[in-house]
Amino acid sequence: MDILRIENLNKNFDGVDVLHDVSFTVQQGERLLIIGPNGAGKTTLFNIIGGQLPATSGRIFFREQEITQKPAYQRAHLGIVRSFQILSLLPNLTVLENALLTFFGCSRSRFELFKDWHSNKEVVDKAGEALKMADLWEMRYEPVKLLSYGDQRRLEVVMSILLDPKLLLLDEPTNGLTSEESTSIVRLIHKLGKGVTVLVVAHDMDFVFEVAERINVLYYGGLLASGSPDEIRNNPKVKEIYMGNGGS
């Protein structure tokens, strides 16, 4: 079953065509990677799916329901969750507080924010479970600003997961990470069940081929190619415009 269907999507910024006539579908539970040269429109595509930007034209369907005009918060409630390329954490709060805040953001408990966050055992347990999965539990009382960049990136992925996504959009989640830290992000994604569909924008080819079931290649705002990791790896045009001579 398609969980997401994009039809003839166009986006124009001040006369610059950033996306033109992009159409594709994503299957329930699929791991779809989106690659392409810088400026190809990958983050813009994510912004339009997430509702952070309106499309100039075209339509978006999530579980057969049209969401083209829905604002970002309504899409979030439907289960479309995204992380950002530039970290978007609250630096003065602790790791645990950041995690809890995310959880409250999408639950009915959000109006109980004036209560002590740590007293809600169910929520703390759930956050704790996710933090342990990402090896962040030991530093749960550290203010986020004291965490290394790699740990902050992992925390952001954990926060996305805590929002209980149906469709998770990760924008360059391994930027600035060591290969070991990237592997831990791969493990986090693998641990998500098939109940979560994952779309990822990434440039790290080791990571891409580790996670992808299918890869879409964007080029100058259009969909240049779509196929299995092997098909994309051996596509001469993709090699030429993206990977350079012979892969990563």
Binding site: D14, N175, H203, Y242
Partner: protein, 240 residues
């Protein structure tokens, strides 16, 4: 590479964030026209070293000497004025300024041949010319990275601090960054390169320092580092 006169000497610096002691006596040295890579896992003090040099987090102890003069206590703008450029991690593009304004806002003229101006930056990154009048926030991540590099070059630095310049760039552009670093070096610019992409760092640098928990643990040539599996695994987080 045999060292010529040192452009920068970092002598036993100790830097703190509040009460947190981050750098425990870091020393390094870079000669004119040299590319030195500063490598290590995340959270080990690479960016703090860069911030200490440029004056954002001055060290409490130790000294930073640039072209023979102590700059340890100078403000960042004075340090930049003396010819140290910064490409910060996370790009830090001025969001309300256009691409062209971002490039020109901190420009520092140079009479040297091979100096950088708007035209030469546009020649290196033609996409920035196409986007000249767009706001910085409308650029893609990779384009912002190019803008951050261009902005630093417009200050015509003699020493350039590059904090993860390849982050967020497509493989083909990472190669281009490698070429740009080599071209800058040929142009006489000294570079301290902080980078997670080990291949890029080793292909472009003359020498590498490995930092772990605020202490320089190894000083190796790129060839020695590439052959040293223990250092790569233990201190650089390279997966086996």
């Amino acid at each position: 590479m045999e060292a010529r006169s040192p452009v920068l000497e970092v002598n036993d610096i100790h830097t703190y964030y509040g009460e947190s002691h981050i750098l425990h006596g870091v020393s390094l040295r870079i000669s004119e026209g040299q590319v030195v890579a500063l490598l290590g896992r995340n959270g080990m003090g690479k960016t703090t070293t860069i911030k200490s040099i440029i004056g954002f987090t001055p060290p409490r102890r130790g000294a930073i000497v640039y072209k023979g003069q102590d700059i340890t206590r100078l403000s960042p703008n004075r340090i930049a004025n003396r010819g140290i450029g910064l490409i910060p991690q996370g790009r830090r593009i001025f969001p309300s300024l256009s691409v062209m304004e971002n490039l020109t806002v901190a420009a520092r003229n140079s009479t040297k041949t091979g100096s950088y101006d708007l035209e030469s930056i546009y020649k290196i990154f033609p996409i920035l010319k196409d986007r000249a009048n767009l706001k910085g926030t409308l650029l893609s991540g990779g384009e912002q990275q190019m803008l951050a590099i261009g902005r630093a070059l417009m200050t015509n630095p003699e020493l350039l601090l590059m904090d993860e310049p390849s982050e967020g760039l497509a493989p083909i552009l990472v190669r281009e960054i490698g070429e740009i670093i080599k071209a800058l070096k040929e142009n006489g610019i000294s570079i301290i390169l902080v980078e997670q992409n080990l291949h890029l760092a080793c292909n472009t640098s003359d020498f590498t320092y490995v930092i772990n928990k605020g202490v320089i643990t190894c000083q190796l040539t790129p060839d020695e580092l590439m052959c040293n599996e223990e250092v790569k695994t233990k201190y650089l987080g390279v997966s086996q």
